[in-house]
Each structure stands twice: as C-alpha cells, then as structure tokens.
C-alpha cells in the first residue's frame, strides 16, 4: 500500500498534527515576493545600455538567486510547522537511526517493593540501589521522555499512571516510594504494567518507544510465578509493546535470620496475669549465625533480654515471662539483634490488659441467663462484671461498651438488633448465642443467616429442634480451643452432659465455620466463625444447647427440660472458655498482618470528626470518622504496608489504641532467588546484574529527540536565509 498523507497521520508520525497548519505560512514569502514585484518604484534612466548589458550578463544568475532565496523563505515556516507538529520517527526509523536521533521514550519502572528489597549491603539496601539506578536513567534520558511507575507488591499499584515529563517530578515520586513489608504478586504487577503501557500508547502517541525496567532482587516468592503460563502470556504481551530490561539488584550469597513466630498464653490478660511468650527464631538463609540476642521491649522500654544459639536450618526458641502492672493498651516488641535484613527481626504485639471484663447477657425470658452469668462471674472477687437485660432492651443498648455479649434463648431479632450485632462483630468483639425453646428458627435464619458465608452472622443455619432423646456430646478430639482444656479431664463431665433436645444446626458447605463440639449423631453442638471480614477478629459462637433448664418441651402434657447442662460441672468451664475465645478476637483486631485494614469504634458521645493515626515510620495521618451501620462513629484505615506499631489517638480525648502489624509471611526472609536463566527469555535479553555494586547501569539512553533536529534545521535555514539575503543584497551591491 502506498504511504499517503492520511496513513502517515493515522500512524502517528506527528505528535501534534494540528500544528502542521502553520506550514500554510509558506505561501507568505511567495505572496510577498509577488507583491514586491508588483509594488516597485519607477525611475527614468539614461545609462540604459549599461544596465541592459548587466542584465544580459546576470539574468540567469539573478533568477537562480531569487529562486534560492524564495525557497529558503518558504522552507522556514514549513520546517517550523514540522517542529511544532512534533514529528516522530515511527514511519522513518531507518532515517532516524541514520541521523543518530531517537523518538521520545516512555520509561516504565516496575519497582519490587517486597521486604527482601530491604536487604542491606554496606549500609545500602537493594531498594535504595534500585532507586539510584532509576534516578540515573531519568538523568540520562533526554528532555521529552516520559516516566511512569508501577510497584511490584501485594497488592501491586500504579504509582504514576500518566507519564511525568519533568525529571524533578519523577525523582520526587521515586524518592517517595516505600517498601512494603510483604511479599509481591507478580501477576498483578504484570497486568498493571500492561494497562499502563496501553494507556500511554493510546494517550501519548508521541512516546513511540517503550521500555519497561524491572528493578528487583529476583526473590523466589515473587518470581516463581513468572514461569507459569499466565505470566508468560502477560510478559509476551508486554514485550510486544516494549523493550524489557531486567535490573537485578540482588546478591547470590546472603545470610539472614529472623523471628518466625511468637506464641502467648493466656489470651485474656489482667494485671494479675503472668504472661508467657515463646519466641521462635529461624536461620532463614546462609550459614549459622551463632549467638544472637532477643530483647523484650514493653511500651518502648527494655523489659528483658535473652540469648539463643542459632544453627543452620534449625529453629531456636527463647521464652519470656512478664506481668503487666497496669491495665490498658500496651505494646510489645520482640527484637532480634539486627542483621542485613532488619524487618524480620521484629515481632510486635498489641495487648489490652483488662482490669475488668464487661459482659452483657441478654435473656429471652427471665432467668434464662442466670446460670450463664453465674458461670461468668462465680464470685464477687471476679474481674468479670455481668449485666443482664431482657431481649426487648437489646436495641437500646450500646454494645460496644461490653467486651462480649451472651445471648441466652432470645426469641426474635429485629432488623435493628441484627444490625447491631453485625457491627459489633465487625469491631472484633465476641458474641455467644445459646439457642433454646424461644428461638424462632425462621426469624433467626432470615435476619442473621446468609448462604454466602462472608455475609452470614450465624455460622450455621437453624433447622429446628431435634426430637427428644438422650444425646451424647463428642469432643472431636478436643482440637478446638474451646474444648481443648477438657482434654484428659473426663471428670469435668463434658461427655456426660445431659442433653434431651437441642436445636439442630446445618453448617453450610465451603463456609469458614468451625465445629468445636458435636453430638455423637454428628449434629453440631457448638459452632463458631469469624463473620464479615477474614481478619476482623469478631467471633460468633453458636451453641445448640439451651443455657438453662427453662427451655422445655411439652410432651403429653408434661414439661420436659431440654437439658440439665447449666447444672452440670462442664457448664462453668465451657462458658469461661467461650468467653476467653470470644474476647481473644479483640486481640486479633489489634494484632494484624501487613496489608490488613485496622479499624475502631469511638464512644457515641465523642463527637470527633477524625482520629490521628501515627504510623511506624513516625508520620501522622488524619483518619476521618464516619457513621457506622448501627449509627456508631467508626474509623477505618486500609493501608498498613509496613510492620510495626500503629497508634490511634482521638482528639480531645486521652484514649489511645495500639495496633501491632507483623509480617504475614516470612517465606520472603529466606531470600531465595530465581536464577535469571530460569525466567522467560524476554527477561534475559536485556539484563543487568549489579550484584550490590554502586549501580552504574550503563543503560543506553540515546541522544536527541527529532523535534530538536528539526529545530536545528530551522535555525540553520534562518541563518542561511539571512546570509544569502545579505550576500545577494547588501554585501554584493
């Protein structure tokens, strides 16, 4: 197909086609030339024969000179219009290369911000080195190039989606990048890279050449996915649009150790509790590190220090015991003495030491909760305070004032009360629900159950009451924390608990509900789950057995109780375990993994429009307070990219809440790398391994954009025109 003007435009030969209209100004010199010929002065002349002789001699030369001058003058506006139109070498690559020129480039930096990039050599991290390399590329790039940034993280993000053309702007964006204390998802990053390329291609046609730089340490947790078929397809699509440059800032020989886990007992802590921790340290990579120290730092102060000996491939543990003197929110930091990768040398905990526990018991009929309350607070010295309300007052009660709610044979729920429960659970609080003869199955299922597990408040559907009988409980090998204390304690009477009737439950398939205790016929007896949010911490425990002997069945005119459980020895400890299990969810709410959201609820009377969040790096952010579903003021912050302690303060209030955020996965700490030759070939064609050096990348950034050449030609034409006009006019006359 012949190349026409239309096809040239369609192919994007010019960045600003409209500017070509200025080329019409080329007729101006022609018009002026003709006008000047028309507009002349007249003069009589006596020495005509000499003038005629000169004309005869010079006629040909004069015509050529005038033609040359005219062409030069017409060429100037044409070349100016070409320069303004921002010509691209897209259709003329051979000419461009022969002139040593280049089209404006689009540079897309894909920064690996997984926490292994924090590994330091000579005091400089891989991430800092990657930033330095990116800055060098920016500095070497000529004016007119555009830059975008995508992070290789979890989740990956587009940091700069529209090309930044100012080196200062892009340098500021690079400087603002921070590591995520997490692993990275390659697939998402490749998808975002493709999206960015497509966007730049369509919206910035003048950036005719694209180059994607992967600045990474080639960690296996990130790059093992590159060999999968989906990633290969994505990489192929990227390669079809752009040159791929792999910049490897990793090192082949590394050593690293870190805290792999911390276990604490007991879950509920009071000022009289001795708290025990077992800290496990792993030698993740390299040879044995020998002796290391682990510090227990409570509320920023060193509380204890222990030594351990690390040997290659074998975890080592160290135990700490501590008693908190005061109630309230406390922070704990376990710190393994630093090595090249600092982030996994810490484990943080946020602990609420409770002076007393506030428990709300809601009963369907008077006395339904009596035994439950007694089991929760068996004597006056107990630090558990129980308040009992009838079920019709549930809607008027602020649930967030209580650490847990026990619902005892409540008959029906309203839409308002069901919303209250959902919001309460969303805050990480615990609900224990005892069913009984008043429980309206349809009402429960309609307002509190949903087939979609993530939408359901109840962990199981109610199927109605069982027929009368003598039912035996089965502990399911005491695996669940609620019944775990009964292991080996047959005398506690769990298995002999008398149950004659119960509410049958059906646990949906693929739900996250856990059966803690069941009947010997397989029906669930105690089911729990964490509704709504995977890591919200709110725990809902559903008990199929009635909480008192007031639940009765009428059989041939006689009243037969459903159970005598409330008077059985297993009842008080099981209620206590359910309380501990429910409250432990509050700790879950305050102890999150990197990337998890954190949230809180404020007292209804606080009136604050925002809370002040202090992040681990010391920066403060204002988080707006919004009205929750139940009308309570709530706040939520979804960005927790770094591990450490996040502190929330409520203005005009002394309340402080601490949130501990830890690594979600320490697999990245192994610092295992994927060999470059195992990656798809596209990554191997242009690869630069710095090996922890100074980062002189030697990346070829070509010289001059085409519009500069055209402007140079324009300048040359103008100078030539001036000289020719001077030579033909003044100089020679």
């Amino acid at each position: 197909m012949p190349v026409t003007t239309t096809t040239l435009f369609a192919a994007g030969v010019f960045g600003s086609i409209g500017m070509l209209a200025w080329g019409a100004a080329a007729v101006v010199p022609l018009v002026l030339h003709l006008w000047n010929r028309h507009k002349h002065k007249e003069a009589p002349w006596a020495a005509m024969e000499f003038l005629l002789a000169a004309v005869q001699e010079q006629a040909r030369r004069m015509r050529l000179e005038q033609l040359l001058l005219l062409l030069l003058r017409m060429a100037i506006p044409i070349v100016l219009a070409l320069a303004l139109a921002d010509p691209l070498w897209q259709m003329l690559p051979s000419i461009g290369s022969s002139l040593g020129s280049r089209v404006p480039h689009h540079h897309l930096f894909v920064f690996d911000v997984s926490y292994s990039m924090g590994y330091q050599v000579d005091g400089k991290s891989r991430f800092e080195q990657a930033k330095q390399i990116a800055r060098e590329i920016v500095e070497k790039s000529p004016q007119g190039d555009g830059f975008t940034i995508v992070t290789l993280a979890s989740p990956s993000q587009i940091v700069v989606s529209s090309p930044a053309f100012s080196p200062d702007d892009i340098r500021a964006e690079i400087a603002g990048l921070e590591l995520h204390d997490n692993i990275a998802e390659l697939g998402t990053a490749l998808e975002l890279t493709k999206q960015t390329l497509n966007r730049v291609k369509s919206e910035y046609p003048r950036l005719a050449k694209h180059r994607v730089y992967f600045l990474t340490d080639l960690g296996e947790t990130t790059w093992h996915a590159a060999t999968q078929s989906k990633a290969k397809a994505q990489i192929g699509e990227i390669e079809s649009d752009a040159d791929i440059v792999m910049i490897d800032v990793g090192q082949s020989t590394v050593t690293n150790s870190g805290i792999s886990s911390v276990r604490r007992t007991p879950p509920v802590i009071t000022p009289t509790t001795n708290v025990n921790w077992q800290v496990t340290v792993n030698n993740f990579a390299g040879s044995a590190d020998g002796n290391r120290e682990v510090e227990l730092i409570v509320d920023g102060k060193l509380a204890a220090k222990e030594s351990l000996t690390l040997s290659s491939g074998t975890p080592a543990s160290v135990a700490f015991q501590y008693r908190f003197d005061t109630g309230g929110s406390h922070t704990v930091d376990f710190h393994l003495s630093d090595d090249a990768l600092a982030v996994d040398n810490h484990y943080y905990e946020s602990i609420v030491v409770r002076d007393e526990l506030q428990i709300l018991c809601v009963e369907g009929k008077t006395g339904s909760a009596r035994n439950v309350a007694l089991a929760l607070a068996p004597n006056t010295s107990s630090n558990v305070l129980v308040r009992t309300l009838p079920d019709h007052r549930l809607g008027e009660t602020l649930l967030q004032d209580f650490d847990a709610v026990f619902l005892c044979n409540v008959g029906r729920f309203t839409a308002q009360s069901s919303t209250q429960l959902k919001e309460y659970l969303a805050l990480g609080r615990g609900v224990v629900m005892f069913l009984g003869d008043l429980a309206a199955t349809e009402n429960y299922n309609e307002l509190l159950f949903d087939e979609a597990p993530q939408q359901s408040t109840l962990p199981a559907r109610l199927l109605g009451t069982s027929p009368d009988g003598n039912y035996q409980l089965a502990p399911r090998d005491y695996r669940h924390p609620i019944v775990q204390p009964f292991r080996g304690q047959e005398r506690a009477g769990l298995l002999t608990t008398p149950v004659f009737r119960y509410t049958r439950l059906a646990v949906p398939e693929q739900s996250r509900s856990n059966v803690a205790l069941e009947f010997s016929n397989g029906d669930p007896a105690i089911v729990e789950h964490t509704p709504f949010l995977k890591n919200s911490g709110g725990r809902f425990t559903l008990v199929a057995i009635a909480p008192s002997e007031q639940s009765v069945s009428r059989d041939a005119g006689s009243l037969k109780p459903w159970t005598a459980w409330s008077a059985w020895p297993s009842f008080p400890p099981l209620v206590q375990e359910m309380l501990s299990f429910s409250i432990a969810g509050q700790d879950t709410e305050r102890n999150r993994m990197v990337g998890d959201p954190i949230s809180g609820i404020l007292p209804a009377a606080s009136g604050s429009q925002f809370v002040l969040l202090t992040q681990p790096n010391g920066t403060n952010r204002r988080i707006s307070v919004q009205e929750g579903r139940g009308g309570s003021p709530v706040w939520q912050h979804s960005e927790t990219p770094t591990s450490g302690i996040y502190t929330v303060k409520v203005p005009d209030n002394s309340t402080t809440e601490n949130f501990a955020v830890n690594l979600s996965d320490t697999q990245e700490s192994e610092l295992t790398r994927v060999p470059l030759n195992e990656l798809p070939s596209q990554f191997q064609q242009n690869s630069i391994a710095t090996g922890g050096g100074t980062g002189d990348t030697d990346i070829q950034i070509a010289s001059t954009p085409l519009f500069r050449l055209v402007l140079g030609l324009l300048l040359l034409l103008m100078l030539t025109e001036s000289f020719v006009a001077w030579y033909l006019g003044n100089a020679r006359s």
């Binding site: 005509m48 000169a54 004309v55 004069m62």
Partner: protein
C-alpha cells in the same frame, strides 16, 4: 535654467578670478595680454594713447594726433583677443536625467558650467562660440568677444529643450568642418552614444588642430547606482524599460559603466584630448576649478 543669473553665482566666480585660462598650443589669434600669437593682433575698439618710445612699431603711430600736437603717440586698442573657444553642448534627452540624490539635471549642471566658462573667457577678451546638438546641430553661434554676445549664448542655452536622441560622432564631424580657425573646443556631454563614432568625431577636431576638452557630464546615480528597491527603469532616448532588483545588478552595471569611462579616458589621452569628469552633485566651483587647474598644468 529659468533664471540666467544663477550661472553667475558670485561666490563661484570670485574663486575663478585667480585662475586664467591658457591655451596649450599656439593658436591663431592676436598676440595681446598674456596670449602668445604667431600673427599681429588688431584692435576691435580704441582704448587710449601712449607716448612713443624708441623701438615701437611705427605702424601704430597716430598721425592725426601728431598733426595736432606735434608729438608721437601710439594707438592702444582695448580687449585684444587671440583665443577662440567653441562650447559644444549636448542637448539630447539623456542630459535631462536627474538622479535621486542630485540637486539638478546633468543639463543644468553642464549649462551652468558652460556659462561660467563663457563669462570667464569673455572677461579675458577672448571669443566664445556655442553649438548645441542632439541628433544634429540645433544651434550654432559663431565666436565673439563682444559682451553683448554673452546674452545670446545664455539665451540659446536657456531655450534648449533636451528631447531627442543623440548622434555625437556625426555632429562633431560636421562641426569640425564648420569651425574656421583653430581654437579650443569644449564638449559638454554624457557621451551616451556610439563610442567609436564619437572618438572619430573628436579625432576629426584634433585633425583640424583644435584643442579639445571633453567635459564628461554625469549624474551621481549613474556613477554610484544607489538603487535598492525593485525599480522599473524607464529608458531615455527610446531605450526599453527594465523591471529589476537593482541590488543584484549593481556590480555588473558598475563593471560595464566603469569600463566605458576607462575606455573614454584612455582614448582621449591617446588623442591628446583633455578629459574632465563632471558630476552634477558636486559644487560648481569645484568642477570649474578642477577643469581649469588641469588646463593650467598642461600649459605649464
């Protein structure tokens, strides 16, 4: 030339008082004053008597006075002349040209210079004649030293109307035949004509033993060609028009024109003809002073 006194600008003429026009060669005429002549002069008008001294020519003794006074007195004659000057004046159309920077036309300038010379010559009691020409001789006034003759000369130049083409060579041939006695022939012309014919005419005059002076009268624009903007040049003397950019032609024009000037000058030198270039933008006294100084240097 609307006002004849402008040819007699006192400031110009006062400067010429110290100069005298001397003939380079001995020409026919009377020996009187400062002019040497091979033949005896004769008086045109009686001026005075002086007492006889031994050795005086007895032919000039006034016998009538001797009869009355018994003393010998010799007759002295006033305005004795022995020089004849022919002013040959080009009145073709090209002499009417006035360039953009010139104060007047070439004709005006040449006529002024000619009038000044005529006045100066007649002041020395010499005879001045005038011939105007274009394609042919338009006016021919025989030489005379009579003061009233001056008015005739001026009038003839005043009424001249340069309109026609020129044919200088043929005219000079004809004038050479008409000039009776040897004298000085001063040609005022821009010489825009056939160069060989022109030089043959001058040669003819020289053959008749006339002392020829060429006063080459040119406009400043013809010598410098100062035009810059595109110009339609309208040729005089029936030559064609030409629209051109003068800046691109200047060099070539000046080359041709200077070659023309050099040719005339060198050929005049070979013919022992004085060549004086007269620019119409220079002061008239400078023109005449230069002209007369050159004549003086040749006499000496």
């Amino acid at each position: 030339m609307s006002n004849s006194p402008k040819y007699f600008d006192p400031s110009t003429l006062s400067k010429l008082q110290s100069l005298s026009l001397r003939a380079q060669h001995v020409v026919e005429g009377y020996v009187a004053g400062s002019h040497r002549s091979p033949s005896h002069g004769f008086s045109i008008e009686f001026a005075e008597h002086r007492e006889y001294a031994p050795g005086d020519d007895l032919r000039y003794v006034d016998w009538k006075v001797f009869g009355r006074t018994d003393k010998f007195y010799l007759k002295q004659f006033e305005d004795e002349t022995n020089l004849i000057c022919h002013l040959v004046f080009d009145v073709s159309e090209s002499m009417r040209y006035q360039g953009p920077d010139a104060p007047w036309t070439k004709f005006d300038h040449a006529a002024t210079a000619a009038a000044s010379l005529a006045w100066l010559i007649m002041q020395q009691q010499d005879a001045v004649g005038l011939a105007t020409f274009d394609e042919e001789i338009r006016q021919f006034i025989r030489p005379s030293s009579n003061p009233s003759h001056m008015q005739q000369l001026l009038h003839t130049m005043e009424v001249a109307d340069p309109q026609k083409k020129t044919s200088t060579g043929r005219v000079l041939h004809e004038l050479a035949d008409r000039f009776g006695r040897r004298g000085i022939v001063i040609i005022f012309s821009d010489l825009f004509d056939d160069l060989e014919d022109l030089l043959l005419g001058i040669k003819h005059l020289r053959h008749r033993r006339h002392d020829v002076i060429v006063a080459h009268t040119l406009d400043a624009a013809e010598l410098d060609f100062p035009f810059r903007r595109p110009t339609l040049f309208k040729g005089m003397e029936s030559l064609p028009e030409l629209l051109t950019d003068p800046r691109s032609l200047r060099q070539a024009y000046l080359k041709h024109f200077n070659k023309f000037l050099q040719t005339i000058e060198s050929r005049c030198r070979k013919l022992r003809v004085d060549y004086v270039r007269v620019r119409n933008d220079e002061p008239l006294d400078v023109t005449l002073s230069t002209f007369l100084a050159k004549r003086m240097s040749r006499i000496s």
